[in-house]
């Protein structure tokens, strides 16, 4: 009798474990949903333009230090704005990394969107003054569960959309 009661209690314990180790299934994305990820790393321009040294200034420097231009190291923050079907979904200002703020700005954002056809417009500002220096528009058809990654590669001409 006691053994039976113990068996029932042990069975209940492992039944709870067995059940919750797989169930209920976790619905990460509902059937009609897809995901947009904004993921990029880009260095903004220098905060102040490089300045040419005057003859007088150059003369004052040691001969091995006579570089004709001086540049401050700090970069401007990069701003990225993404709109989907005319609605802004991301508007991010990414600060430059590094103690001297001289590194690249990196961004990672994730958003669940409705699956289906979408018009995506992405803009990026990386120069002093905040003017949008790059922009791109694309049309995507995201099946449920698909992923659209918005990346940025200036050498490839700017925004890259991968889906």
């Amino acid at each position: 009798m006691r053994i039976a009661a113990q068996a029932v209690l042990y069975a209940a314990f492992v039944a709870v474990i067995g059940y919750f180790s797989t169930s209920p299934a976790y619905v990460h994305l509902a059937p009609g949903e897809a995901v947009v990820k904004l993921s990029l790393s880009h260095a903004g321009e220098r905060k102040e333009p490089c300045r040419t040294r005057s003859e007088a200034e150059l003369a004052k420097l040691a001969p091995n230090m006579r570089s004709p231009t001086v540049c401050t190291r700090e970069r401007v923050p990069v701003r990225i704005v993404v709109a989907i079907d005319g609605t802004t979904i991301f508007d991010v200002v990414a600060q430059p990394t590094g103690l001297a703020k001289d590194g690249a700005s990196t961004v990672y954002r994730r958003l669940t969107v409705a699956a289906g056809r979408h018009r995506i417009r992405a803009e990026l500002a990386d120069a002093p003054g905040g003017r949008m220096t790059y922009s791109a528009t694309t049309e995507v058809d995201l099946a449920p569960g698909r992923l659209l990654v918005i990346d940025f590669a200036p050498e490839a001409g700017g925004f890259v959309f991968r889906s």
Binding site: A11, V14, I17, S21, Y26, Y108, P144, R162
Partner: protein, 518 residues
Amino acid sequence: MRAALAASLDACEAAFDRAFGQAGNPWRHLGSLAFLLVVVTTATGIVVYAVYDTSVGGAYRSVRAMSAGPPAGLALARSVHRYASDALVLTMIAHLAREWLRGHAAGFRWFSWLSGVPLVALVYASGIGGYWLPFDRLAQLSLTATTEWLDALPLFGEPLARNFVSPASVPDRLLSLLVFLHIGIPLALLAFIGVHLLRLTRPRSFPPATIAAATCAALVVLALMHPARALAEADFGSEPMTVAFDWPYLFIHALQYRTSPQLLWAAAGAAGLVLAVLPWIERTPHAPAACVDLANCNGCGRCFADCPYAAITLVARSDGRHLPRQAEVDPRRCASCGICAGACPSSTPFRSGSDLATGIDLPQAPIRALRASLDRALETLAPRPAIVVFGCASGVEVASVREPGTAPIELVCIAMLPPSFVEYALRAGADGVMVSGCREGDCAYRLGHEILRARLEGSREPRLRARVSRARVRTFWGARADARSLSAAVAAFRRDLAASPRAAGPSMPPKRREALDA
């Protein structure tokens, strides 16, 4: 609220007692059960690791092959590994909750409590890291969620989650790193468990064999009936939609996606902080620590051997007597349980002199007072058969059994009772001695049962002398709520004593009698 929870825990434990018996009740062995599960996960983890492939392409294949193999082979090891780790979470949380409900978060136990808190984080880090290794859809989801969570704090310059936005972005050496984490964090867990047990003498790190065997058997049956399946392979080019989910560990991902990574940080931080400062919120009044009286300490080391909280050390003699050692108490560790006083050879009531002093004693409940109340009770104890009931402050309130012929005497812990007091009571007029303590395995000071039982059986110093008739000594183990059972046990004892009356009356040593008479 806490009182209500504590009462339901008591009721639940009482129900389990009926199925398991007191000593085999798993509720009383949650800490050691958690440790057993750590050991089982480690052992099965080593087996699974032996066939695991740490390359990005091979990891998934090697785990799938494991699960596709014969059910009693590697698939079993994998499934038991998973279920033991799930059982560990549940057991650990039950252990934490039970210790809290018993008021064990504060006072001299603060160290055990505080050192338990990082174990929660380490168990979670170990378990969640385990879910990354099969490199399936669940691993993908968990890796993404975890890195997004870490990125919410300004810890890393470059967001870690960027490694998982496309198949091409996944680093080649990723799985080696994940394996390193899944070995390193559990090793840290083992080391921290060592710290957790540092202030306990003879920690019960393994549950009784029946509990250990039954738990392992139950896990194997579960693993055979419901083996861990292989899910679809990770594909960082798309998002997992619906996944079979291990809730005990991964609920935090669900929480993060239903709220936000920041909110999850806030919740985890707040929970950690509350747990960590609980010993100082729940301040309990600190009873005075045990004190050593060098004049009565010969350095025998019995108190040192019995102290459940490693509060006693044996140090070089400081009073010039020609003895090698003396006992010394660290008051910060002392639980004021008095078990040491019960161990000291000087704690014998047969010693003459009205001022009984012993080697180590509790200032608030000295052995001298124990003898005085026993003497007083014995003087008026009638009718026969007369019974002295020694009880502990955490078990049944022994005052509840007071009636003519029954004299209750309460101690802090029943293991504070020197066995010579049992003999003394019997020789000074009692026909029987009942010794009542907490339910077995439930001693408020951990080792009371084990120590007292061994002393009464004569297998541990100080021993109850062999010439004391064991028919006149009985034990009773019960919780606060068991007062009725104690009364019934006393009544049954009285019937048995009446059936075999003693030939002679009290046989007190003459010296003590004189002292009493004076």
